[in-house]
Amino acid sequence: MPPLNKIGPSSHRAIEPSGEVTATAGCYIARSPDHPITQSPDLPITPAFRRFVAQRFPAQLPLLDNPTTRRRFCQLMGASLALAGLNGCDWPFWPGKKLVPEVKRPEGRSPGVPVYYATAFELGGAAEGLLVKSCEGRPIKVEGNPQHPVNQGGSSAFAQALILELYDPGRSQGLIRRRNGQESGATWDEFAVFLKDLRARIGNGKGLHILSEASSSLSVRGMRACLLMALPESTMKALPEAKWHEYEPLSRDNEREGTRLIFGRPCRPVYHLEKADTIVSLDEDLLGAHPSAITHTRDFAARRNADGKMNRLIVYESAWTITGAMADSRTGKKPSEMEAFVRSAALREALAGREHSLVAAGPRLSAQAHALVHLLNSELGNRGKAVTYVADLDPKRPGHGEAMSELTSAMEKDEVDTLLILGGNPVYDAPADLEFVQKLKKVPNSIHLSLYDDETSRACTWHLPRAHTLESWGDSRAWDGTISLQQPLVEPLYGGKTPAEVLAWVLDEPLFRGYEIAQRVFKEATQPPRSDEAWKKALHEGVVAESFSPWPQAGEQSTPPERSQLSPPAAPGLELLFVPDYRVYDGRFANNGWLQEMPDPITKLTWDNAAQISPETARAQGVGHGDMVKIELEGRALEIAVFVVPGIADGTVILPLGYGRRFGGQVADGVGFNTYVLRTTKALYTASGARMTRTGATYRFATAQDHKIVSAVASSAAAARTPELARSASLSTFKANPNFAQEMIEHPPPGQRSLFSPPHEYTGNRWGMAIDLSRCTGCSVCTVACQAENNVPVVGKDEVARGRRMQWLRVDRYFHSPHPLSGGERGTTALLFQPVPCMHCEKAPCEEVCPVGATSHSNEGLNDMAYNRCVGTRYCSNNCPYKVRRFNWFNNHLKTSEAEKLMFNPDVTVRSRGVMEKCTYCVQRIVQARIAAKLAKQDIKDGDIVPACAQACPARAIVFGDLNDPKSRVAEWAASPRAYGLLEQLNTRPRTRYLARVWNDASGLASTTDVPPVRAEHGRDAHAAGGGTGA
């Protein structure tokens, strides 16, 4: 069990304040050379310049009006220059490096050997369990906790990117006090004085309002109870008149209300996808945006087995989600049609008589629609099987939109003396019609606890730095109710506190820290209280076994809503749909470069959001891809760029939330468009009656695919070739011809001779990878996991647009239109994903052209890359048919801040400019496993080596292992009839194999006609005889 003090010396390194001020000032001076900088009060700040600063450096805008900052800058620069001279006095030129052992080494600790701690991460009130790798006290990599029922080893992209968030130099680094337009630093002691005054002033809490983000934490709940209720046994002074509000911009309240309509009390539906043969999703992103998406993806993928009992996924949705992309049948429906469809009897009739099904409705559907879906599941006999219910943690809580309205009306009426905002960012993401920011100005004291000095913090009188997830003690519950404990990997870098700790301060118990709170609520949550041993065990495992409480399976208690009760008809015009973003969620991850650069699974867009519309809608509206448009809705307007995506419901505009931040940090600011401006309490998820007009301007996107096609010929050639790159067929085709994937194109026979070096002999291990396209949902967590493991830099929008992104593993996305199962019906579109790491070719074209031998074949079949030999000719990249090699055009890591340097994986070289790099199959993990096996005098067992991508994959779509071991999983997969190699016809003998995707075309709910996928005459006889033409 790691006590708090088990944290390495490196964690205490002081982090220099970021250089934002100097950057702005430098820019300003450079742009106004005529004006002597000494006359700071007289500087002519023209409106044009002010606009420029507002656009490019919005965070620095206040500094323009603050002359002392500029003077301070000059002082600092002068001092820096003088001190820089001293730097030359170092002798010798290469001073000896220092080796610094501990004074007393903790027991069992070995320098350089990483330690893993289980912890948890909560997003929108639902947790996932993590296992975090820590090197010398520095957390460097997040994995899913294999023992956690939600994760079972997999994780989300958000969890993978937590490391970058922890070390983000843009995080707020201290308390800030804002009064009368003045801003000053503050200390926790000053805040304590403020709280003392506050308690003296408000007595029993009247006028104190607390706005919290959704939290399933027992610690927060415990502190809240202490605060709001005068508990008899508590020695704390409660504030019973205080008001508590909970708001989350992306809420599942409609689903909750739906269960209340049916069962009389709110509860959470928990889906068990492995138990369903037929899954119907009604605008529900089960595999993507759902809080339990990791579990769903795993259970769903486990049933995508074409050789066994394969499930069938039917999706009706307005936007493209990755669930829709996995669907065997997907129908695009407008939000208004969707509502009507759920209420109609069509679905019920189609599903009647089916056993083992599951119907899931999405959070954007109305509560009535949800109630009907719950009823339908009961009728179909799914309750207790594919869907179970757990009790809601807070049954009396009003809906999030409602709570926010209550709070703002109290603010309007001057009833709020002090507003304590625990997390969240309401100034940015509260419904636009509530005008939160205006009303916040009427509140005399407002306190915001946040990771960043963001939009809300800047509108409050106090900003408190929040402790990061990986710095916090606490606990949280997964979607299914499982309790996970949260333990810090490092002391708060900037003195941050958790929401529970801040509540303790409000209660005048500043010594009551996260550790004591978490331990106490954990122990006292049960009767009799849990023991110390139970606490230690739970901390060690990160999860409390059997801690969820399934809700008793009682029958419906209320009368179901009338089916005929139709939703109000949609107003004419375009319909809008607000969706969470796969990268920044509701905007909270906007300052995270890994996530910003992770291409959106569907659009492949990086560093932006856009209004997504179908080609038909674009034609009807007279707009094109990349046009700037103005979307107007009830007097509110948004200017945004259009991104055309086939397959989106016609007449619908998809607006991903979370972009267009003003004070999100240096990475987030000015990226994308703020779609919250159109979102109102009446239309939190869908709106109708919107108008779209072209502004005449165009916008440049940085997409991670489709950017190298120069002509129509090339475009059509690429389209014609996609079916052989990402191969797929229907289940019936597969059953008729299991070898369809291999026979799709002419490929060289196994004995085909190659121009390249003589064959290698592999006497030991022969590493290989296999990726099952039937399982891959395209969620792209592998990309981020790889980035975290291999010290891959972030390059930014401009470089992505030039095709210079550095991610070693890309996920290609292909549209197939018409859908292979649609029988050629126009307008149907299928989506396929294909993760592309290095193929580690047997006959690697890259190896043959390197003039300096920097890339060579290992005797275990790896295509090794020796960075220090590389001179940057880029011949290898030119010669690679898969385009998986990445070139360092810049010294990307020189931009890395001191804080971010702590994040590097010490087992992987940090590359510099002029060096080629690419996927290594995580060779550092291979070597570690080899040495560990050697020390244990054993062979490497199958499963001992798990590359970062395979480890993070919730669908378990990637397996890695020894191809020389016929019993290894990778050998089994590679021997599957569905296995094929990418561009095999080039005789590169790729070692990464793909398993072709199979769509389930079982009868019912969609057409069964199939387009035969076999395109070329294969010449089976020649194949068998070892002949063939080859490449």
């Binding site: 220092k98 080494r105 290992s858 070289t909 060779v923």
Partner: protein
Amino acid sequence: MNQESTAQFVFPKWTNTVRPAVGALLIAAPIYLILLIWYGASPQALAVGYAPVQPVQYSHALHAGTLGLDCRYCHTTVEQAAFAALPPTQTCMNCHVTILPNSPRLAPVRESYQTGLPLQWVKVHDLPQYVYFNHAAHLNAGVSCVSCHGRVDREEVVAQTAPLSMGWCLECHRQPEPYLRPKELVTNLGWVPSEDPLKLGARLRKENNINPQTDCSTCHR
């Protein structure tokens, strides 16, 4: 024009030897320069013999040589981990609480122990950052400390004795036999095999299945 006056413009006879001498110099000088830089910039010249002054005048010759302490008494993780950990101050104080508790040479150690601030040793054997060396893998294969670090048990101040260059590493990775010994003797720096080291090495290599690799990724990742 008389002969005497012209004679002063004729090169004397001995100058005939200058030409080949200059020729020889012109040939030899570049070779010398190349060899000078070749050797002068090699790890053999630059790194071997590097013996920086350490913050504590610790004598390996006394502790490991005269007193016979095993390497692993201080470098505890050498058989299990990539790094051979430097001993924490605590390890020094285990003995020096009672032995020479007031020695002035031990003042930095006592100070570190009292203040909790670590000692800052100067790194002697420093591989480039793109090289990943693993002590455990080598020791468990039967490669002795002495193969890379030399007779540390005779050194008052630790110095680098091997060039630690890539060619030098590969020498052993290509033919490990001369450097192998029974695993239990790896920390016995003075051990000399009683039989032909090549024969012993070949036997040990076969017994322990030692196949050092020479792929790039063995050391570079």
